[in-house]
Symmetry: C2
């Protein structure tokens, strides 16, 4: 377990003794930034709710006990869920008539912050109220609300959300479970026809759930009307499975072990006709099927679309976790000195090293961008779910935006947690310092609630279909420009297309000098142009598909899959950048604006650096300009370094949220103690002489003689 | 926990129905590759020892029980260590006279494979015999071997390797612990002067260790002779700390919880003079210091250099873990069908999707390269430690090679384990399927035994110092070429410089056509040229440093740190590519050679793609050629896809090593069952009609009427 590095000391003397560091103690915050203002911006539209939820998360009884065996962890989280009910905040999304708050957006905002207490608590409450409860709320009607929601809200009825099957992860339409209507008894018969149709990975299924919202193929009068959702009791008052219901415990997972994931299967389980959650499709007593949505395809997507909140909340929780990790790592990097405190002059703290800045500050910039983008996503979510703006287009835009942002932020969380853990060395690997535990828990965020790669593919297809359906005859450049500007604008401004044509026109000249990389318009052009061009290129490559056989078309499509997903990622990055820029424009405090502009520039330039080969290959940047990107990033991280601590302080986490020994002043105090020891030793006159010094003296003496 | 993806089904119909897949069952292995030959190549120089160690790793009693609480896991691993002693294989490195095998290389080869049983077992045995025991072996002399090694070898004396301190991770020369010689009693007094000097992260320290090899500043007659190693008993027969010794348990870590890491501190602990491990520095009864190595700096590095085996073995173990993960993920990806088995024609298996190929196959290529590069590293290690070739230069080359390869392979392991876990979706997150557990354990490999970033910086400095010291007056191009070709050649061939000048001369013309990216010489030129140019550029930028103040020079150096580390990475990548290419040249079987050439090309082109912006910015590739890189990679992954299963089978893992439910034929069998169900349903005439089909029929009927 040792970290010896032969060769280190001599090698590093070059780096040593850089500056007479003034001892400012563990907190190096320049007064220049208006941290309070920044904090309000970061907390966003639902700042008060977030603060209130963070108070909950700061309570030790709501927090995780690390290293707890799985069963104890499960029991603790279940108990904590009860405390959430007492506290009442988690019920905001439910109808006022039933004691909720009819507040969809605020509910998610508060829910996200629970990740600070224990991601298992966050996700388990998400299972109970955000999936199981939300299915009843959004797919059921008045009678279901009145009958089922009270028990769900009080946790009297813990429930599982039984959609995913072993044989089908992301492909919900193909699930094998059937719900066949029996006119004779006016019941649905729920059945699992084969092992691949077992419901899988369901929270609350292994231990706590006594009911489930089960997705199944609705069959009546010999017709399969596609996937619908049914309310199915699964356990009796003793916790035993009801007749016909069976299941297994998923056991230990890579993380989130406070949640009792498991499998369920059904053998001719009979439920009353009324247990069909019938908002989007109903079966009359005589077995006649009816639906307010004629198209089976649209009906299916409408039903699943009501469950977008899972994705929305993961975007927020992942961003919060990234912010927490960066706060810990940056506070430590601002104290920890590498390469000794034994000599007169102190060595640099980690964060003064360029590589360290390069590792942490661009990730901080992205976390800021995500925070602002998430607030926009959540606002849009609230618009739709409050009914203020919930047309089909609004819903589809919301889904596309969530599908674009969730993959980026959840991958970013894993990447950031890992980089922070490594940047803190062995100390970062200690469970007490949070990174490894959070990383293990957040791992699954990248594949559940929609696999990241699948989601990005959906985004890309949306962009492509806009492109191909609306502009089949227009010239290619115009289309592509339109598609993207529209997607970005519709997502954030809802005001039709932003005219990029002009700035794009004189792009060649405006971007000529290095300094202009700092220019907002230039960054926007570079980022926008990339999305546009990628979509346009793929669109053109896919054009022949319409005249091909299905087999050939699929093969052609597959040949573009990787590129397609990259295009969607570029789109998501642009959305994040736009959100950061929009927030930046609102800042009035001069110093704050200056520093935030650097941070936004760092984000923009980091994106451009990440895809530099594209800009070069496509003639968007000259070699010289491309080289300026990296050089300018190096300047930006150096400029931002003195503000790093302020920028993480602005996230507003308290010690009860950080809970990491390395984020305290311990390291600083140890250095002070060591320093005092060496000073005292020198003053005592008893300090040993270094052999090296001795030999140097001997040499000098020999030369003289 | 659900993975619903609204919009999935309709969107994906384009991708569906691609091919009439012939049911070849779960194993799609074309007969074309000589798997046995390939397996021998992958197992390398110590194939028999690896096989024998894998037999050990296949024993259930040597394997990890997942989810075991920390204390039980610790106890189990300690017990397993006893079984390793019984088995005898782990003692190969020790002297024959004491029952060992005097086999340094074979010892490491066997040791690495233990990662298949439990990484905690691997690392704990590394602590006992590879660090604690190796310190006595390499830093001690005959009397220490006779006195201490037998107890260490039999595990009668479990011990800690007490080098790292809280205040100093990678900077061993600056440790604060002192060992002051007392002439009156002929003892050393070991002392921890302040909290920052506590020994930290030591395996065997929290529970099992009864002795430790303690690194401390040796002070005698008022002179500090620098860091030396001392044998210090720490616990009595009851497991209590001896007087003056204290410590703490590090508690839960992000992984490797079968190892009892902890802290130690010493308050005037007295040990006999003879307990100084005195191979490289001794103190006479009267307190006179002597050493066979005059320079304190060289002495220090020589001492630490004997401990390079930790790094060497991590390179191997990380590569083995990557191979295991890819075997599991590729076997699953070859069976798992995404987007349904409910219709007549099966959907594609995951591995037929381009994105999936892109995710797994380049990582497979890199794992092959690492496997071959590691065998070369281990051979060089064995040359040095057997005494066959152990000049100062040989030792330095070995250290540089280990420092270049260990960072790349340990990072690759984390990246690969994660990508495999994601590529298997929710199933990948289940602990039973190995990825998450291995990832958690291997996490710390990237920062212990030398932090990866620090190691790469050392490599870069070595390249730079060769550059600046040997060629101060020659022309820049020649130097740079020399530095790298020499580093690569010395590392692998020990035969002076390889002449690249000619091929480099006509590079502009030879690399003109797309097809030539497949050319070995072109790949070599591109990869070599990059290392050369980067080092040369940085070297030139750093030139003014020699005439600067220390402060300014350090600042200049810091401004190049990021680039410097990237240059070292490029060097490591080149070494891996060279190793793959060298092995490839030995393959005689035609089909194997063809497939392996594709795989090597995929590795080379993936490296070039990863750094494409560099090749473009520096005019090494035209835009057109650069675009061909990605296109060619797409062709390569498609070509390699049918051989993917053969290529992982060649790693030679058995089910007892894989131990992952998803790597069995379970998925295939579930699909067969589902398929049979639907066939029977159709044949029964009772299959429900899809509402969609019904509506289409109605529409058609209306049109007719």
């Amino acid at each position: 377990m040792a970290e010896a590095v032969p060769g280190t000391t001599d090698e590093v003397t070059e780096v040593a003794n850089v500056e007479e560091n003034v001892d400012t103690g563990p907190v190096h915050i320049p007064a220049s930034i208006d941290i309070a203002d920044l904090q309000n911006r970061l907390l966003g539209t639902w700042a008060d709710i977030r603060r209130s939820s963070r108070e909950l998360a700061a309570r030790p009884d709501m927090q995780r006990i690390e290293g707890q065996p799985m069963e104890e962890h499960r029991a603790r989280v279940f108990e904590q869920l009860g405390k959430l009910v007492e506290n009442g905040q988690v019920l905001r999304a439910f109808p006022k008539a039933l004691g909720g708050g009819d507040d969809a957006g605020g509910n998610i905002a508060g829910f996200e912050e629970l990740v600070l207490a224990d991601p298992s608590l966050q996700i388990k409450s998400g299972v109970q109220w955000g999936l199981f409860g939300a299915a009843v709320l959004h797919l059921g009607t008045q009678k279901h609300h009145e009958k089922f929601l009270p028990g769900i809200m009080t946790l009297e009825v813990p429930g599982a959300f039984a959609m995913t099957e072993i044989g089908h992860g992301s492909d919900v339409a193909s699930i094998g479970t059937t719900a066949t209507y029996d006119e004779a008894t006016q019941e649905f018969v729920i059945n699992t026809p084969f092992k691949g149709a077992w419901k899988e990975f369901l929270g609350n299924a292994a231990r706590d759930g006594i009911a489930a919202t089960v997705f199944a193929q609705l069959i009546t009068k010999g017709v399969n009307h596609g996937v619908h959702c049914f309310y199915v009791p699964i356990r009796d008052e003793n916790g035993d499975f009801l007749p016909g219901v069976g299941g297994e415990d998923d056991g230990l997972k890579g993380g989130l072990n406070g949640i009792d994931n498991g499998r369920l299967h059904f053998t001719d389980v009979r439920i009353p006709r009324e247990n069909l959650l019938n908002r989007y499709g109903d079966v009359a007593e005589d077995g006649t099927y009816s639906s307010p949505i004629a198209s089976p395809g649209r009906r299916f997507f409408t039903m699943l679309g009501t469950l977008v909140q899972g994705r929305v909340s993961l975007d927020g929780a992942a961003t919060t976790a990234s912010a927490l990790a960066l706060t810990i790592a940056i506070q430590y990097g601002d104290q920890r000195r590498q390469f000794n405190a034994a000599s007169e002059s102190d060595e640099e703290v980690l964060l003064d090293y360029q590589r360290h800045q390069r590792r942490l500050l661009p990730r901080l910039a992205q976390t800021y961008a995500q925070t602002f983008a998430h607030d926009k996503l959540l606002t849009q979510f609230d618009d739709v779910f409050s009914g203020r703006r919930d047309s089909d287009d609004d819903r589809q835009d919301l889904e596309t935006l969530a599908a674009a942002l969730k993959p980026l932020s959840t991958w970013h969380a894993l990447d950031t947690l890992q980089e922070c853990r490594e940047a803190c060395g062995g100390a970062g690997f200690m469970n007490a310092n949070r990174f490894t535990s959070l990383r293990a828990d957040l791992d699954v965020y990248v594949t559940f609630e929609g696999d990241n790669n699948v989601l990005l593919q959906l985004v890309a297809k949306r962009l492509l279909s806009d492109y191909s359906s609306k502009f089949r005859k227009a010239d290619a450049g115009a289309l592509a420009r339109y598609v993207v500007s529209q997607a970005a604008d519709r997502a954030y401004h809802g005001s039709g297309l932003r005219t990029l044509a002009q700035t794009l026109g004189d792009f060649g000249s405006t971007a000529r000098s290095v300094g202009q990389l700092r220019d907002t318009a230039v960054q926007r052009e570079l980022l926008t142009d990339r999305v546009e061009t990628m979509i346009e290129t793929i669109g053109q490559r896919l054009r022949p598909a319409s005249k091909m056989s299905k087999v050939d078309a699929a093969e052609l499509f597959n040949s573009q899959q990787n590129e397609l997903i990259e295009a969607a990622r570029a789109h998501g990055e642009l959305l994040q950048w736009e959100a950061f820029t929009e927030e930046l424009e609102k800042v009035t405090h001069d110093e704050t604006k200056k520093v935030l502009t650097w941070l936004r520039d760092l984000f923009g330039l980091s994106l451009i650096e990440r895809h530099l080969e594209w800009y070069l290959m496509n003639g968007r940047l000259s070699s010289q300009r491309a080289q300026a990107v990296g050089a300018y990033i190096n300047r930006l991280v150096a400029r931002l370094r003195p503000h790093a601590l302020s920028l993480v302080k602005a996230f507003g986490f308290e010690e009860a949220h950080l809970r990491a020994p390395i984020a305290t002043s311990g390291e600083y105090e140890r250095q002070e103690e060591a320093r005092a020891y060496y000073v005292a030793l020198r003053e005592s006159g008893e300090a040993p002489v270094d052999e090296k010094t001795l030999r140097a003296r001997e040499k000098a003496a020999k030369k003289k003689s």
